[in-house]
Every structure is written in structure tokens, then in C-alpha cells.
Symmetry: C2
Subunit: 252 residues, 2 copies
């Protein structure tokens, strides 16, 4: 069989799902920055649904790690720490290696054409907004995952890719998509040739370099949790246990 026959993994067409998709996209395109407030009322009003639905949608996105939900507090777009970002990329590397391992040499010509078409689209978007480039690059990886036809794998790759996307907007310097596009092409080519070891290595390297390009260092100013920033200084406070800090406003 050429990979596995295709089937859909899409969400149902609930109002909840619609809102989830909209918010997800807004988040990964950085229309909603990390930390942005998401009051249930406003969302409901904006999407023409009741607060119940908006709330449910927020719950789903929280389960995906895109939104942070604190009791009795306004939901906000997640603000992963630098370490969490690195962890996400590490997981992503393993998952996507698995994807290409399953796919190597098993793609139909139609599927390869689809992948190439997608990369062409990425290429075409190079002049446009950065956010679109990032989204397309992410969707390339999700497209790959979908071709495994393993719903679980699709879900995890999608989630973790979105999370990585989110961290890029936090920690990344202005994006350079050029090499990423070339790397995508190289991956397609190796997949077509069926060189399992090589494509796994390519994917590993690709994601690692994306991570390294982005997560250059625990950039001290942006996106770090106040508690983390203060941690080294807390030692100097006399008679203060560092382990359990008192309640402090997070990211005032």
C-alpha cells in the first residue's frame, strides 16, 4: 500500500470547533500574541455565540496547550517558558522522525505532487507577511503527518507544531524562511527516494536548526516568567526559602 489510504481527521463542525480553529489560526499567525487576554464574553460576542460555547472552546485550546486557563481569571494565550519551548521542539523532533520513517518510500506520486505544491505555495508567500510564511511552514509538517493516516500521530504533531509556532513568536528573531523551504524540498526528495535513514536525519536536522535559529538563547527580556527572572536574586534575600515563592503577579 502507498502509505495508508487517506481519511479525514478534521474536527466536527460544532460551533465550538469553529471557534477553536479560528483562535488557533489567530494564535499561530500572531494576530493574538502570547499573553493576550481572551475573555469569554468578548469571544462569544465576536463569534456570535454564547459564553458557554466560548468557554468550551477555551477549554479545548487549553488542552492543546495554546491557552492558559487559571481559575476565576481571564484566559490568556499561552506564554511558554524558554525551557518548555525547547522541550516542545525535542518532542517534535522525535514525532516527526517517526512520521518520515513511516512515510519513506511509501508516498504516491499524487502525494508527492501535493507536497511539492505546498512548498511552491511557501515559496510564493516569501514576499508576504512573516506570519503567513510561518503558518505555511507549519502546515507543511502537518500535511506530512496526515499522510501517515495515523490520527493520533496527526494530532500530536499538529499540537506540538502549533506550540512551536507559538514559541517562535515569543523568542524568534525576524524569521528567515529561505533555508527552511530548501530543507522541505530536500525532505520530499529523500522521501520519494525512500531513503529512510537519510530522511530521518534530514528532518532531525531541519527541526533542530529551526529550533536553534529561533531559540538562540534564553533571551532575558521577552517572554520569561517573572518568577524565573527573579529566581537568582531571591537567594540574596535573608531568611527567604527559595523553593516556595509567595504568590506574585505573573507577567504583570
Amino acid at each position: 500500500m502507498a502509505a495508508r489510504p487517506t481519511s479525514k481527521t478534521s474536527e466536527s463542525s460544532d460551533k465550538v470547533s469553529v471557534i477553536c480553529r479560528a483562535l488557533r489560526r489567530a494564535i499561530i499567525e500572531q494576530a493574538l500574541e502570547p499573553g493576550a487576554k481572551l475573555p469569554e464574553d468578548s469571544l462569544g460576542e465576536r463569534f456570535g455565540v454564547s459564553r458557554t460555547i466560548a468557554r468550551h472552546a477555551l477549554g479545548q485550546l487549553a488542552a492543546e496547550g495554546l491557552v492558559e486557563l487559571r481559575r476565576n481569571r481571564i484566559a490568556v494565550v499561552a506564554t511558554p517558558s524558554w525551557q518548555e519551548a525547547r522541550d516542545a521542539f525535542d518532542i517534535r523532533i522525535e514525532l516527526e522522525r517517526l512520521v518520515v520513517r513511516q512515510l519513506a518510500g511509501k508516498l504516491t506520486k499524487a502525494q508527492i505532487a501535493e507536497l511539492n505544491a505546498h512548498v511552491d505555495a511557501e515559496d510564493g508567500a516569501r514576499g508576504g507577511a512573516d506570519a503567513v510564511s510561518i503558518r505555511l511552514a507549519t502546515e507543511f509538517h502537518i500535511l506530512l503527518a496526515q499522510m501517515t493516516n495515523s490520527p493520533i500521530l496527526v494530532r500530536y504533531v499538529s499540537e506540538v507544531a502549533y506550540r512551536c509556532c507559538l514559541t517562535l513568536s515569543l523568542y524568534s528573531r525576524p524569521h528567515s524562511t529561505e533555508c527552511a523551504i530548501n530543507e522541505h524540498r530536500a525532505i520530499i526528495s529523500a522521501l520519494a527516494k525512500g531513503d529512510e535513514a537519510k530522511v530521518m536525519e534530514l528532518m532531525h536536522h531541519h527541526l533542530d536548526s529551526v529550533a536553534n535559529r529561533a531559540l538562540v538563547a534564553p533571551t532575558p527580556q521577552r517572554g520569561r516568567d517573572l518568577l524565573d527572572i527573579l529566581a537568582p536574586y531571591a537567594d540574596e534575600v535573608a531568611g527567604n526559602r527559595v523553593v516556595k515563592l509567595p504568590k506574585v503577579a505573573r507577567r504583570g
Copy 2:
């Protein structure tokens, strides 16, 4: 640093979370078998909450893949196909290899003691109900994941482990936990010694043999979706596209 300092990943104490935990446990202990119906009303009544809350909880569990939600239909405990079960184990292997890779040689004595204590508990439960053994074995893996102190990794390992647990109840023959316990001990030992390559190999082998013990073959009778069973026959139907089957009762 000895692994990373421990912090909690628990869910908040919402009513929703309470119900989620209860259902999750009921599912992995097979008190609720795959396919079992979960009407919102009944759940709400049982847990002393409104339908709204029960519904929200079901949404969360659906996001984790433990529950299947179909529009306008009663929610049911998920019934993964054999292929999905195999996919889940494949993903789990990669994730848990990552766990032990991060942990090798980095555990404190206290953590090793905790792991040993857990395995002792598994040992002590050998006489008891099968469901408890399975749950404890699963929790061992989650405990490991928690020691990485990577919330994302904890979440994914937990989810996929629960899913695997679920599939065991579908496809597994009467469980033999003996060797699993020994394998757990071997993993702890290798982790303590810090032999990264070996512990990854051990974990790989451990999970692979759990999967093979359980998923012996696509058992034709139980747990298979009617559509899957019929798929080979559909080819013979004249002029019928196999891709899109008409609506058919699933698992009548």
C-alpha cells in the same frame, strides 16, 4: 542539577477536572469498557453536577482520545482500531525513549527510591485485580515522565499511556504482569547507572513486548469497526467507490 526540580503538573481542582480524573481512572481500570455509553445527564447526576460540567469534561476526555464524541449522539468510551492501537504504541515508544534519555544518570537517590517503591507496590498488587496491576504499571511510566519535569512530555506520555491502557482492555489476552515488573526494575537500575543507550534500548524493548503481548494480531472478532471488517468486501460491490462508504451503523 538532578533531573530538574520537581513541580506539579496536576490539573486545577475544577469540578470538570475532578470528573475527568474519575472517568479517566474508571476507563483505564476497565470499569468502563470501550463502547460504554456516557450520557451527559447520567454523568451529571452521578457526580452531582450539572450537565454543562459533564459535557465539558467529556470534551476534555475527547481531546485526550479516551472518549468519542459524535454530534447529537451519546458519547462513548473510545474504541480504537487495532491499527490505532499499534500507532499509539509506536508513538509511546519514541516518547518514552526520550524520557529515559533525559533521565539517565540524572535521578536523585530520592527519586530512585520513589521509583523502587512504586515497583514494590506493583509487586504487592500482583495477587489482586488485573485492572489495578495495569493501572499501576501505567502509572510507573507516568511517574518517570513526571521526573523529567517537562509538562509537555508528561502530558503526551500520560495521554498515550492511557490510550494504550485502553487498547489493552480491547485486544489483550489475560494480562501477565510478571515480566513487566522485572523490566521496570531493570529500567530503574539502568537509569541509576546512567547508561543512556542501554536504558533507551530497555524501554524500547519493554514497550515493544508489552505491545506484542497485547496486540497479538488484529483479532478479527472483537473491537473492530464494522467498516473495517467490511472494507475488503466492498471492493466487490459493482460501481461502488470504496473511499466514501455510506452511513452505516458503527458497532451496532
